[in-house]
């Protein structure tokens, strides 16, 4: 989970009282936040692009701008911060204002539904036809009279980035633009444009040698274009937000224009959110609008007109309404609470709950992106009540423990082999063709389960046998005392179209004996001992193993194989001791 740094002083001012660290930590944990610790965060302004970069004190900082990479940075203040892991399900708590709203509730300072009254700006955003497939929805608002400073500006930018990440799914589901309202001329137009249709100066610098860029230039040559052009791939017309004079605000979801850039001196903002799902777009704007309002801005609505004539007013802060049965809530939480008590618990999570006809009528903030079901409210009631107050108890139902038969059989192999003095090893199931096939003399094209997106070259296929794992253990233990008698019990995998998941997993036991006296007779005696314990009649027949010595390998019916490892293979593994191995299916006799 990404970490977010919340300025403690601003948080306390927004909550309305001072909190000792311990009290703050406890309250955050009661909300489900993981507190990493407290630190000092320094801010630097980039002389090249004007953006702010943050760095924790006492942490390695490369003195480079986060945005353009320039090293022309100058100090721009610092804050004491609390470092918490972002809760992706609660994007409304990603910043100091939203977190303060939630903390005020859990601390009992301000409970119940927060009310937001927004006046109309009179501004209209008209959506032109042609965006249905690429990015159909937009929601906007204005925020006037905001007193920005460097810390707040940086906080808002960080909120924007984190909203892009979590509800925005890396801008796919929601992309946010924040503009200097005084630099643009309402109304606005959200419309499709061709790759060469307009020219503007994007944020964070122009591609080299250019004065103005077309959408195509941005996609092909601007760093943000490179990061997000996949979201517009396959379309020949791109979404564009422009003002009444035709000036470009942004090319969603890629980049804003330089002309609309927000600085610490900006007082009036215009905000838009675009995306393919109106609900996500609306809730994301509601989060930002609530934050701006809590920070003291006068938020105003914008009318959005769609090509089909539909007209919406954004942001829509109307609470989500639901009913909750108190008995259902008590059953799921396993507590006995009256409807009034439940309403109180919900109020601490900033829901407005009233009781009517024995059920709870719950009104929840529009910015809550995570409320999909009554169970979400039940969880909030539980958090409001406090998990530490829930009395643990066991379910009364009597059930009987029953192991998987294969595990019981495996345990017989394990006990027999440890009784014979063998040490159990465990190796990784992911391996690679070189180690697993080539080095042991198996054909390279032996059908194996292959990964599409391996994370490293050592693990590209699932193992088909246990031999390479055993030999790799012997290889790293050449200096340990001989003889070395080891085994592994684990699954091997073969592609098999007859199986539901296309792969057959087989439980096997692999055995290896290394040392001056290791040989066929020795390992065969071990296999025969296992056969005796498991009730398996092992008839040995000469067989060939790709890594075995000719004439010293055998198969024990369908149970498995035994053999002495060929010196050439031992040499390839760097093992200077004779080694005999066996691999058996984890079976028991009839």
């Amino acid at each position: 989970m990404p970490l977010v740094s919340i300025p403690v002083d601003r948080l306390q001012r927004l909550i309305g009282r001072r909190l000792e660290r311990e009290e703050l930590t406890t309250a955050l944990e009661r909300l489900g936040s993981d507190v990493e610790g407290y630190a000092v965060m320094a801010r630097y302004r980039c002389a090249a692009c004007g953006q702010l970069t943050e760095a924790l004190e006492h942490e390695d900082f490369n003195n480079r701008c986060d945005y353009c990479g320039s090293d022309k940075l100058s100090a721009a203040g610092w804050s004491e911060v609390v470092r918490i892991n972002l809760l992706p399900v609660r994007p409304d708590t990603f910043d100091a204002a939203g977190l303060a709203r939630a903390l005020a509730g859990i601390l009992g300072i301000r409970t119940g539904l927060p009310e937001f009254e927004f006046g109309a700006s009179g501004i209209v955003c008209r959506v032109a036809p042609g965006l249905e497939a690429v990015r159909p929805f937009i929601a906007c608002c204005c925020a006037r009279g905001l007193k920005l400073d460097e810390e707040l500006l940086r906080m808002l930018m960080r909120l924007q980035e984190n909203l892009h990440w979590a509800p925005g799914r890396d801008r796919r589901r929601a992309s946010i633009g924040v503009y200097n309202l005084d630099a643009v001329r309402p109304d606005f137009s959200y419309r499709p444009v061709g790759p060469e249709e307009v020219r503007f100066v994007p944020l964070f610098g122009m591609p080299e040698g250019m004065v103005e860029a077309t959408p195509r230039d941005v996609l092909e040559r601007h760093p943000k274009g490179a990061s997000y052009r996949h979201l517009l791939a396959g379309f020949d017309r791109y979404p564009l937000l422009s003002d009444s004079a035709g000036a470009v605000l942004s090319l969603p979801p890629i980049i804003n224009s330089e002309a609309t850039k927000v600085t610490a001196a900006t007082r009036n903002l215009f905000v838009d959110v675009t995306g393919p799902d109106e609900g996500t777009v609306g809730r994301t704007l509601a989060i930002i609008a609530a934050v701006l309002a809590d920070l003291g801005a006068r938020v105003e609505t914008v009318a959005v007109e769609y090509p089909d004539g539909r007209r919406t007013t954004t942001p829509d802060m109307a609470p989500r309404e639901a009913t909750l049965r108190p008995d259902e809530a008590c059953r799921v939480l396993g507590v006995t609470l009256s409807p009034e008590e439940l309403a109180g618990c919900l109020a601490r999570l900033r829901h407005g709950a009233t009781i009517s006809g024995g059920v709870l009528r719950v009104r929840s903030p529009a910015y809550r992106a995570d409320l999909m079901h009554d169970y979400d409210l039940i969880e909030d009631a539980g958090i409001g009540y406090g998990y530490e107050r829930v009395t643990p108890r066991l379910v009364p139902a009597m059930t009987v423990g029953r192991p998987q038969p294969i595990e019981e059989t495996a345990e017989v192999y394990r006990r027999s082999l440890t009784g014979l003095g063998f040490l159990e090893t465990m190796t990784l199931q992911l391996t690679n063709a070189e180690e697993h096939l080539t080095r042991l003399g198996y054909p390279d094209d032996l059908p194996c389960v292959r990964l599409e997106n391996p994370v490293r070259v050592e693990g590209t296929i699932l193992r088909r046998h246990l031999f390479s794992g055993l030999l790799s253990i012997l290889r790293v233990n050449t200096t340990a005392e001989m003889p070395q008698h080891i085994f592994e019990i684990g699954d091997v995998f073969e592609p098999d179209g007859a199986v539901e998941t296309g792969v057959r997993g087989l439980r096997r036991v692999g055995i290896a004996m290394a040392g001056p006296k290791a040989g066929f007779a020795e390992i065969k005696a071990v296999v025969e001992a296992l056969g005796h314990e498991l009730g398996i009649e092992a008839g040995f027949r000469a067989a060939a193993l790709p890594f075995g010595i000719d004439g010293r390998c055998a198969e024990a019916g369908t149970w498995g194989v035994v053999g002495e490892v060929h010196p050439a293979v031992l040499e390839r593994f760097g093992i200077a001791q004779p080694v005999a191995v066996a691999e058996l299916a984890v079976l028991r006799g009839e």
């Binding site: 169970y375 539980g382 997106n453």
Partner: protein, 502 residues
């Protein structure tokens, strides 16, 4: 009649009832060497049969020169005889020629000091009676030559005063050595005397009791040698289950004892069971190539019956019949067919719910899961996960906490506590922390009540509580490992050392 080891017999037999014998005497009498005598005497002393007495004394013995003087006479005695033969007077400068040696200072010194010669104007002249009888020093040398070495006591017995001998020989260290010596003597105790009087007999002593000794009955005639039980031995190592496997078995035992049935499913899983059935939206970050291993070969698996699949799909899109809003997107059945390496064993337990959703059921699974992680000291792309679920009318957050408290106490926790957390498929959700002696609070697992969006499409109408967590970290804490890789590319010495007991 007592049977004794040969050495003990010989020593006891050599001792005299009324006298202490020196070790040297015993060496002579028993024919054993000095260390054998000392060792045997020590062992007998421990059993109270003899006493070993130690005394310190002064010992005199002759040097090589001393022995020469004893046979040929002291240098001044030889010189006096020669001077007498030469007429009683000799010039100092002629003395070397007379005695046939260059350096005659010793002779001159003692001739004059003893008053055998007067020295005047470079002439030595014998005095009257100078070389008549041997002096006391010559007598002492003669006695020492006879005895080899002697204590003061022995000198006195030979009629010499040890103090006088010492004084006489002062300044003549070239003839006589004086040393302080420790002497050990051995004497029978009363118990020893009784034992010897009752009769003792030698028996041979053996180290290893052999089948031959047993078969022939000859063990009756031998003595089994006593060992020094404090001595070190060669190290042995038992065959052992792998430390992580032991934690797995402990976990399974805890589950089985608590009435859970064990379930299992394939490591390779369809995205449907790994994600979709758990209500994880298809654009959820955890499903991305960045986090989950997808298979290139084979690529697609088969889905369960259409009705179930469609119920799950509808739940994603608009909540279906679960009372949820759903995720509000177009669910793609093709993505559900993709094969992945399962990212959690919840894929296994959710299959168990689908197979039989009728309460009451307690089900658990232990198995390998995969996450697309880079390898470092705390991460591996594959690890062991446990998962437990309870399908029950009484399943709730409270019974979840109660079950986990009991479970982790069985695993060695002193106390268990819970904190809110968030997972895509449980609501409410929590994290369980266990207090482990010496470590403090350790995060053990994520847990919660399955969302109705998960259980209802599978035909389950009662609450289902679930939890899951990795086991490697538990094993690392238990065995004091700081690198997870050690579990899977193990040092055999570590496996041999890792003790079975907690």
């Amino acid at each position: 009649m007592t049977r004794l080891p040969e050495t003990e017999f010989r020593l006891l037999a050599a001792l005299e009832p009324e006298r202490a014998l020196t070790v040297e005497e015993l060496v002579q009498k028993t024919g054993m060497d000095q260390s054998q005598v000392a060792g045997t005497a020590e062992m007998l002393a421990r059993r109270g049969l003899v006493m070993v007495l130690t005394s310190e004394h002064e010992e005199f013995s002759l040097t090589e020169e001393g022995r020469q003087a004893a046979s040929a006479g002291l240098p001044e005695r030889i010189a006096a005889r020669a001077i007498r033969a030469a007429g009683g007077t000799v010039a100092l400068q002629d003395l070397p020629a007379l005695l046939g040696k260059e350096d005659t200072r010793t002779e001159v010194k003692w001739l004059t000091r003893k008053g055998w010669c007067s020295r005047e104007a470079g002439m030595l002249t014998l005095t009257a009676g100078a070389d008549s009888r041997p002096g006391p020093d010559e007598a002492a040398i003669a006695v020492l030559a006879k005895l080899g070495q002697a204590t003061g006591q022995e000198l006195a017995a030979a009629g010499l005063d040890p103090a006088e001998v010492a004084a006489l020989l002062r300044g003549r260290a070239e003839l006589v050595r004086r040393r302080r010596r420790t002497r050990r003597t051995v004497a029978l105790t009363d118990a020893g005397r009784e034992l010897v009087a009752a009769g003792i007999q030698p028996a041979s002593e053996v180290t290893q009791l052999t089948p031959e000794l047993l078969a022939s009955g000859r063990w009756r005639e031998v003595i089994l040698k006593k060992y020094d039980v404090g001595l070190g031995t060669a190290r042995r190592f038992p065959g052992k289950a792998h430390p992580l496997q032991r934690v797995i078995q402990e976990t399974r035992r805890a589950f089985l004892e608590m009435g859970f049935e064990e379930t299992a499913s394939a490591t390779v899983e369809t995205a449907f069971w790994n994600f979709d059935a758990l209500f994880q939206p298809q654009d959820h970050p955890a499903r991305e190539m960045q986090d989950t291993f997808y298979l290139a070969e084979p690529r697609l698996g088969r889905l369960p019956d259409d009705e179930l699949v469609s119920r799950v799909g509808c739940t994603h899109e608009d909540g279906g019949e679960t009372g949820s809003t759903g995720w509000r997107y177009k669910w793609d059945i093709e993505l559900a067919r993709r094969l992945v390496l399962r990212t959690h064993t919840t894929a296994t337990t959710i299959r168990a719910v689908a197979a039989n959703p009728e309460p009451p059921r307690k089900v658990f699974s232990v198995g390998k899961v995969f996450r697309r992680e880079n390898v470092d000291a705390t991460h591996l792309p594959e690890f062991i996960q446990i998962d437990g679920i309870i399908i029950d009318e009484g399943a709730s957050l409270a019974t979840l906490f109660g079950t986990l408290s009991e479970f982790y106490r069985r695993m060695g926790a002193k106390e268990v506590r819970f904190r809110p957390s968030f997972f895509p498929y449980t609501e409410p959700s929590a994290e369980a922390y266990a207090f482990i002696e010496g470590l403090g609070w350790v995060e053990m697992c994520g847990c919660g009540v399955f969302r109705p969006e998960v259980t209802r499409p599978l035909g389950c109408r009662v609450p289902v509580i679930a939890w899951g967590g990795g086991l490697e970290r538990v094993a690392m804490l238990r065995f004091g490992l700081d690198d997870i890789r050690k579990l899977y590319l193990a040092d055999i010495n570590w496996l041999r050392e890792a003790r079975l007991c907690r």
